[in-house]
């Protein structure tokens, strides 16, 4: 770390912090992806996790994913609640035997020394009803603060994981706040510079938090959103139907193949985010809520089924 200039050090700079994590996981053989170009509630929705977790082929990837949680907006007034924040996501398939050690080393790489910090793995079973997914693992605690989510996927998009992937999700803002020692997310030093050159998290995102909170809670056009949900759902089904090839020539003429799982899955992501927006606007009743979640799950499952019949998703 001696070679790292001060403004790039993880405890000084939010971007340095992200780069340190990326470098660490690149060294473990992960492909470092860029964020997926769609709105989603969590890094798990990225096809690099959801779809790549399926099928037998090995896959190791890490990426930052902006995560949108319309309901969590607080008009920029809460010190640590945001409707848009960053998750750092790692997926390793199959889960390596030393994944816990790798995770602890990654903490060391961002300046969390396990000889002075109390790091704990506290039971947390993960389930995503919208993705038809579940896994077992932990919340990882550092000095009493939840800093990551550690999950061994057992099922994703309704498909049993074989082999199982290990998934790590770091809440970047929260971790960086801890490492930088600030109590308000907007006070995070984003670029690690001081004085006039310093750019804070607030400089980058405060206005966005205010504007999107207004949008999410007050103005998002619910009629249009209901329409969009329906459109995304229809499009997803259409693409799925169009993608199926019976007796595929690629596969010797006697097996099913799917040629459009990824575009179909994009529509599933879209439906899920539209649902989150409608939910934030409070226009979905408790009973309807269940049925929307179910509809997204059906899309996710159909996409998962399609994926394991694609070149990348299938065996051999």
């Amino acid at each position: 770390m001696d070679a790292t200039p001060a403004h790039m050090r993880p405890e000084r700079s939010f971007q340095g912090f992200i780069l340190a994590l990326q470098r660490f996981w690149a060294e473990q053989g992960c492909v470092i992806l860029q964020p997926y170009d769609m709105e989603m509630g969590a890094g798990t929705f990225h096809p690099a996790t959801t779809l790549r977790a399926l099928g037998p082929k090995p896959w190791n990837a890490a990426y930052v994913q902006p995560s949108r949680r319309p309901k969590d907006g607080r008009y920029g007034e809460n010190p640590n609640r945001l409707q848009h924040y960053y998750q750092f996501q790692v997926i390793m398939k199959p889960s390596p035997p030393n994944l816990q050690d790798l995770y602890l080393k990654s903490l060391a790489a961002i300046g969390i020394d396990s000889s002075v910090h109390d790091i704990r793995f506290v039971e947390d079973d993960w389930e995503s009803p919208t993705l038809g997914a579940w896994g077992l693992g932990w919340e990882c605690w550092c000095d009493g603060m939840e800093v990551s989510q550690f999950t061994y996927f057992q099922q994703v998009a309704g498909v049993e994981c074989a082999p199982v992937s290990g998934e790590l999700t770091y809440g970047l803002e929260r971790l960086a706040m801890y490492v930088q020692g600030v109590d308000r997310v907007y006070d995070l030093n984003f670029n690690g510079r001081e004085g006039a050159e310093k750019v804070t998290y607030g400089d980058v995102f405060l206005q966005a938090e205010q504007e999107y909170s207004r949008h999410n809670f007050e103005h998002a056009d619910t009629a249009a959103l209901f329409e969009q949900f329906k459109m995304a759902e229809d499009a997803c089904r259409k693409y799925l139907a169009a993608g199926w090839q019976e007796n595929s020539k690629n596969l010797g003429g006697n097996q099913k193949e799917h040629l459009m799982a990824l575009p179909a899955y994009d529509q599933c992501i879209k439906a899920s985010h539209v649902f989150n927006l409608l939910d934030a606007r409070g226009v979905i009743s408790v009973t309807e809520r269940q049925s929307y979640i179910m509809r997204v799950r059906e899309l996710a499952k159909a996409c998962g089924e399609a994926w394991i019949h694609t070149e990348t998703g299938r065996a051999a």
Binding site: P94, D143, Q154, P163, D183
Partner: protein, 699 residues
């Protein structure tokens, strides 16, 4: 004799599963050993977040040899039977079998099978992998490359290594040779994740436990609890405070660390303006830390105690500072919630209940609150409560469910309602009812005695019971999702402990009238009453009283005044403890038995007053006179609800009954006399029914 050491080393096992897992491991291994004829001297199992360990000592080195005689077909029997017998017993030729003569059935073949006992270590190598593969984790998972294939091992979290050694104390033990899903049993484990992560080689339990301790792992959960408790108390004491003990939290925390280190932190005093219970819930539920109180005031101090898993190189400064940060953030959320809640009056939250469904078939929460209000107002005069206060209390009692603090900490429901009611200047009884109307929650919980609380508590419970009865959601077997048994027991305790006169059926009928869905009133009422009777029996049994007496009283019919039922049962119990009581019971039972036989014989009953003109013996007349006297005395006493006097009146019946059976032949030759005597016997039964149905009493 040799010992077994078994350790299953894995990634972090959820705290709540550890104790049962240790127990299951001990039970499964020892049961299997015993089933294999291997009786052991002792066994003990342990759990830490990363390992399950078991030591079984005093296991024989080998199974004993087994000799078994198996009886085969008749000599000269069909060939198929003989071939089958040879195959089943492993004999080469039928000549190898013995022949046994049976005087009745002739000669039979007998095979002598000798099964030499196996070495215990081989038996272990066979049973241990099966136990590991079939271990009953509440939830288990697959992991790693092997999970690509079906049939891979499932464990609570990834299993990394297994120690299995077996051997006598004096020698180097052997490794039990087996492997599970690619994990070879051996004698290697690992120390504390951060402080001593290196591999450790162990031989048997004694050096295992000692080496782990040297590697910063306290194996025994009880020892970890003792350390945490002692250190936490000491830390609190050193600053003039006292630890708020919390067994459930202690159990959990001991399951989160292998090397407990208690540390004390503080928070800003300004947070002490939040109610103590909210501070405690925040610190306990979210952060798994203990709180401390000032012994002088009994109020919480601005300190907390955390349990770290390491001896930090800086003495824990960074850990304490980190926890303080998190607790500060949590408490400022809690304070914000609490202060926000205080800004809204409880009654102005109520309209929201129109949107909240209590139960699909029982309408909204708002409708339920209205029902409870009406019922509480009806019950109020019967329990000595002011009607208006009871109505007000019922009106507000559920409002805190919509507050932020209760949303965050559901276990604070009721209590927060009380605080918010006090803060908005409600009458003290009205405020108290918010908390107390949920009581008593269980057999150990306090029964409220403020009449306003009692009225609302009864209304709440009776509405719940009647409602779920009406939609036929009664408890069955072990299933009681709406905690109806608890509600009924709660109502019983409220009535009995407060010596209330409250005909429960009237209240139930009134509650029923308000329901959206109505069932069969009559049936529902009698079902519900027998449910109460059952609960009362359970409760009396728990207190050591005779539950058959409850049946004897309920069997009289129309007994819906629970206080009277209890008093009657008590008086009856006391009476049956006396000689008079025992003899009268015996006499009454005898009369009933004779009647039952004769009624069956004649296919008729013998009710109706006996004819005084047909009495032939002085004992008949004396009994008739005693019955008349007892009937009127006991009847009068019962009418005054003086059951003790009623029982002593009953006692007067005893000598007459005894003398009657002594001197009088019931089945007289003359039919009219016989019938008259049977009627007299029936009168004994009738007379005793003034206090109880003696036929339901055991013994």
């Amino acid at each position: 004799m040799p010992d077994l050491l078994l350790e299953l080393f894995s990634e972090e096992i959820p705290a709540r599963m550890q104790a049962k897992a240790a127990d299951d491991l001990r039970r499964m291994v020892t049961d299997k050993l015993v089933a294999e004829g291997l009786v052991y001297e002792g066994a003990k199992a342990f759990a830490t977040p990363r390992r399950l360990a078991l030591t079984v000592h005093g296991i024989p080195l080998r199974q004993s040899d087994l000799k078994e005689e198996r009886r085969g077909p008749r000599v000269g029997g069909p060939d198929a039977a003989i071939q089958g017998f040879l195959k089943a017993t492993g004999l080469a030729r039928i000549e190898d079998a013995k022949i046994q003569s049976d005087p009745k059935k002739g000669d039979f073949y007998i095979a002598l099978i000798e099964k030499p006992g196996r070495a215990t270590i081989d038996v272990l190598a066979e049973i241990l992998p099966v136990i590991i593969r079939t271990f009953p984790w509440p939830k288990s998972m697959r992991w790693g490359a092997r999970s690509a294939k079906s049939g891979s091992l499932s464990w609570v979290r990834p299993l990394h290594s297994i120690i299995a050694t077996f051997g006598p104390e004096t020698e180097e033990p052997d490794v039990v040779g087996f492997s599970v899903d690619g994990i070879e049993a051996g004698q290697t484990t690992f120390g504390h994740r951060f402080m001593a992560p290196a591999a450790i080689s162990v031989r048997r339990f004694e050096d295992y436990e000692a080496k782990l301790k040297a590697a910063k792992v306290v194996l025994d959960p009880q020892a970890r609890k003792d350390i945490i408790l002692a250190d936490a108390k000491q830390l609190a004491f050193a600053q003039g405070f006292e630890l708020v003990e919390d067994q459930v939290l202690l159990d959990e925390v001991a399951g989160l660390v292998e090397w407990p280190v208690a540390l004390m932190g503080s928070f800003d005093e300004e947070f002490l303006s939040i109610p103590d219970e909210v501070i405690r819930a925040t610190i306990r539920n979210n952060q798994k830390c203990f709180v401390v109180r000032d012994p002088k005031t009994g109020k919480l101090a601005n300190k907390f105690i955390l349990t770290a898993n390491i001896e930090a190189t800086d003495g824990g400064k960074v850990i304490v500072a980190g926890n303080e940060r998190v607790i500060r953030a949590r408490l400022s959320d809690a304070k914000f919630f609490y202060e926000t809640d205080l800004k809204t009056k409880l009654e102005s939250r109520l309209p929201k209940f129109d949107q909240i469904v209590f139960h699909e078939k029982l309408g909204t929460q708002a409708a339920r609150i209205k029902r409870i209000e009406r019922l509480a107002a009806e019950i109020a005069p019967l329990v000595g409560a002011d009607v208006e206060k009871a109505k007000r209390a019922a009106h507000l009692a559920k409002a805190d469910l919509l507050t932020e603090v209760v949303g965050e900490f559901p276990e604070l429901q009721g209590l927060m309602g009380k605080y918010y009611a006090q803060a908005q200047g409600e009458d003290a009884s009205v405020a108290a009812a918010s908390e107390e109307h949920y009581k008593p929650q269980g057999p150990a919980d306090r029964v409220p005695n403020d009449p306003v609380s009692v009225a609302v508590a009864l209304a709440d419970k009776i509405d719940t019971l009647v409602g779920f009865w009406a939609i036929d959601e009664k408890p069955t077997g072990s299933k009681d999702p709406y905690a109806l048994r608890r509600a009924a027991l709660g109502a019983i305790r409220l009535i009995v402990d407060n010596t209330l006169r409250l005909p429960i059926l009237n209240a139930a009928k009134s509650a029923m009238a308000g329901l959206p869905e109505k069932g069969d009133d009559q049936k529902l009422a009698s079902d519900l009453l027998s449910f109460f009777a059952d609960r009362l029996k359970v409760q009396l049994r728990d207190q050591g009283a005779r539950h058959d007496l409850v049946d004897a009283v309920f069997s009289l019919g129309g007994q819906d005044d629970l206080l009277l039922v209890v008093r009657r049962v008590e008086a009856l119990g006391a009476f049956l403890d006396t000689d008079d009581g025992k003899n009268l019971l015996a006499g009454t039972k005898r009369a009933s038995n004779i009647l039952a036989i004769e009624e069956k014989k004649d296919k008729r009953t013998f009710d109706g007053a006996p004819d005084a003109g047909l009495y032939q013996l002085p004992e008949e007349k004396a009994l008739a006179k005693a019955i008349d006297q007892v009937k009127s005395e006991a009847g009068a006493a019962v009418a005054k609800e003086d059951f003790a006097t009623a029982m002593s009146a009953m006692a007067k019946l005893r000598p007459a009954v005894d003398a009657f059976f002594d001197k009088v032949k019931v089945n007289a030759d003359e039919p009219a006399v016989r019938e008259n005597r049977l009627r007299l016997l029936n009168e004994i039964r009738v007379a005793t029914r003034a206090v109880a149905d003696f036929s339901k009493i055991e013994g």
